[in-house]
């Protein structure tokens, strides 16, 4: 029994990670129709920022404060990834609007460079991030059934991010601008919105979210230069399945893929589970090419 309860929890937990990783992508893709293959590398950057933050604490602060580093690492990861994203947008991405296919290729080049950069700076071997003490252990439901705090924390983090994005997009002035550009770039321009700036900021936010994801991932897995590549494709699937440019869609897509993954993995085996999930995604897209939720548009070449 409890095995199944735990399995359901696992499903949700895996989904939450996917959603977290995909949020940023969904926004950038939705806004500028740019597919950012380097998104995974922003996750990696977030992870390394966490690593550095930890070392900072170990080096300069008292042991008793160590637990705090993670709290600080989250905004730091957001900032750094966001900043690098901002720069990337200004130098590369902005040349790629309305060239989605090319954007895939150029950003892939970017990801190569970023990975090699990480290898040069931090060396080839993985680095270890010690998770803060207050995240060790878990919530004990019953004998042998324990929900790890780390995963609970990540789920909470994801919900926070989604709410944050929702507020930003639907409750703030900037958000109105962003959505205006999403829906009709030309119109927005003609109404005096500085789309260049909106693009830059949105891309920065998207990258920042990836940074947070990387920060969270340090709790679960290895931290190395290839960290991002393990997630990039799955996140694309989430975005496409969910439907471009909708928070709801991304959440739903993530939940669907995450649970499907864990369930199939549980009843078959990991490899087969993965294969089945991707086949299901392809099949689903045949039925709904635009994903679960999509903004129906009347443009001639949609």
């Amino acid at each position: 029994m409890q095995t199944y309860i735990l399995q359901i929890f696992n499903g949700i937990s895996v989904s939450s990670i996917l959603v977290l990783a995909a949020l940023g992508l969904a926004i950038t893709f939705g806004l500028m129709k740019v597919i950012n293959m380097a998104h995974g590398e922003f996750i990696m950057i977030g992870a390394y920022v966490t690593y550095l933050m930890q070392n900072l604490f170990v080096a300069y602060l008292d042991k008793s404060l160590f637990g705090l580093y993670f709290i600080l690492a989250i905004p730091a990861a957001f900032m750094v990834s966001g900043l690098i994203g901002f720069v990337l947008e200004g130098t590369v991405i902005r040349h790629l609007y309305n060239r989605p296919l090319d954007s895939i290729l150029a950003t892939w080049g970017v990801s190569l460079v970023l990975q090699q950069l990480a290898r040069t700076i931090f060396g080839a071997p993985n680095v270890d991030v010690k998770s803060p003490g207050w995240l060790d252990g878990g919530l004990v439901i019953s004998q042998g059934l324990q929900l790890p705090y780390k995963r609970l924390f990540i789920i909470a983090l994801v919900i926070a991010c989604i709410i944050g994005m929702f507020v930003l997009l639907y409750k703030s002035k900037t958000g109105r601008r962003i959505r205006a550009v999403m829906q009709n770039r030309e119109m927005a321009e003609s109404m005096g919105i500085n789309t260049r700036r909106v693009d830059a900021y949105t891309f920065a936010v998207g990258s920042g979210l990836a940074g947070i994801a990387g920060c969270a991932l340090t709790l679960l897995g290895s931290i190395g230069s290839t960290l991002g590549t393990n997630y990039i494709v799955d996140t694309f699937m989430v975005v496409v399945l969910g439907g471009v440019g909708t928070l709801l869609g991304t959440a739903a897509g993530g939940l669907l893929i995450g649970t499907a993954n864990t369930t199939l993995e549980f009843f078959t085996n990991t490899s087969l589970g993965k294969v089945l999930v991707f086949i299901l995604i392809i099949a689903f897209l045949q039925w709904r090419p635009k994903g679960l939720f999509n903004i129906s548009s009347r443009a001639i070449d949609e």
Binding site: R119, G144, S222, T262, S271
Partner: protein, 415 residues
């Protein structure tokens, strides 16, 4: 571009083909890069040897430090006058974690650079990819990593453990001390699958039980479901043949699920000191591993070795089994060359039989009939400081038996 005159059309053609030929020459030129192809490894005042590991891609994590160890050994030998009065000149190539690339670079080292021998490889896949190249060109490969056995190429020396020098003793020990129910977890490639095949046969013979056998793709990152399966099947031991990054995810998530070494024994055969650093000592504290060498191994040679390695590559670096094996194999080759008085492959192979070397792990000897090493076997426990302390070891070195001929339960495993 309207109405281009014919001449300019020709020029365009010229330009394009120029770029192409440039490309071709670049390929061609680098052929004359290290030395004239005509010259053989022995001639001149240098002996060229190849070093072929993944310096980029996923496997770089492990292989870079192996390369370092080999370079260190070469330097030491050169410092003490080299071999046959000649200095050893290493030619380093990048396998880039890509098997065909290993084959290509091996070809290049043998055919282009005419190296005397090659030290290289980590994954079984990379070795399998290089094997035909070495047999075809009658080259010499020294392979420093424990592997699944069932192989003895006349052109390869295996300085890592054969299954009967790591897996088989480990299973025996676990069966005696930890319990009968095994959960087999591995990455989805040839080493874990073959290893588990051996383990299952052995357990059957011992009267143990395999409760489950799970494989995850290389680079798999979420083990919550696997951990759940482990809980459900209540094994005494998890025999872990996961590779690389996956270990990090597995052990972190195992600990989060509230399972520590007290609740459940795991024994890993692909996790050494280097990997422990990436996983985090606190995540693996008390878990078991099986190797032939640990940084803590108590021999005078090892104290010396660790000191030199740290001095050369930094105090934060650790040594481990593959690193040590890589270091040994360079010395073993040098010894064989000295004995043979030449770098000629066949003569060196002949001379290598029975050669001994006081290695950090203890005295090792090349077994002539299958070109593996006699090695001591050690089971160790991960300590809080991320090192491994030996908790059990064979009293003397174990004869390598890649095909497990000496075990009746292994009949029909090797065909």
């Amino acid at each position: 571009m309207k109405n281009i005159s014919l001449t300019t059309k020709k020029r365009a053609a010229g330009l394009i083909s120029a770029t192409l030929i440039a490309g071709l020459l670049l390929t061609g030129c680098s052929s004359s890069q290290p030395s004239k192809p005509a010259e053989t490894a022995g001639s001149g005042d240098k002996i060229k040897v190849g070093i072929l590991h993944s310096l980029s891609g996923t496997m770089a994590i492990s292989e870079v430090s192996v390369k370092d160890a080999e370079m260190m050994a070469i330097e030491e030998i050169n410092a003490s006058g080299g071999v046959l009065g000649k200095k050893i000149e290493p030619i380093v190539e990048d396998g880039a974690s890509n098997w065909p690339n290993f084959a290509e670079k091996a070809k290049k080292l043998l055919q282009q650079d005419k190296v005397a021998t090659v030290f290289g490889g980590w994954t079984s896949a990379s070795r399998k990819a290089m094997l035909p190249v070495f047999e075809e060109n009658n080259g010499l490969l020294w392979y420093p990593v424990q592997y699944e056995g069932m192989e003895a190429s006349p052109n390869i020396f295996y300085s890592g453990a054969a299954p009967n020098q790591q897996i088989v003793p480990a299973v025996e020990w676990l069966f005696k001390n930890k319990g009968k129910k095994f959960f087999l977890l591995g990455s989805d490639y040839v080493f874990p699958r073959t290893a588990n095949k051996i383990i299952k046969a052995q357990l059957k013979a011992l009267g143990g039980e395999t409760v489950a056998e799970e494989y995850t793709p290389l680079g798999h990152t979420d083990y919550s479901t696997i951990v759940n399966k482990i809980k459900a099947s209540k094994p005494d031991v998890v025999f872990n043949t996961l590779n690389g990054d996956s270990n990090v995810a597995f052990f972190k998530q195992l600990k989060d699920a509230g399972i520590t070494s007290k609740d459940l024994t795991t024994l890993s055969v692909s996790v050494a000191e280097e990997e422990v650093r990436g996983i985090g000592a606190d995540n693996m504290k008390g878990q078991l591993v099986s190797w032939n060498y640990y940084q803590t191994t108590d021999t005078p040679e090892n104290k010396e070795f660790v000191k030199k390695y740290k001095a050369k590559y930094g105090a934060d670096r650790v040594t481990d089994d593959p690193i040590e094996a890589a270091y040994d194999q360079v010395y073993l080759w040098a010894a064989a060359v000295k004995k043979a008085g030449t770098t000629d492959v066949d003569k060196v192979k002949e001379a290598a039989k029975g050669i001994e070397f006081k290695a950090p792990e203890g005295l090792v000897k090349i077994e002539g009939e299958n070109q593996h090493l006699w090695k001591p076997v050690r089971i160790g426990e991960v300590t809080a400081d991320g090192l491994i302390k030996e908790i059990w070891s064979t009293d003397k070195t174990v004869k390598p038996d890649p095909f497990l001929k000496s075990y009746d339960w292994a009949k029909g495993l090797s065909n």
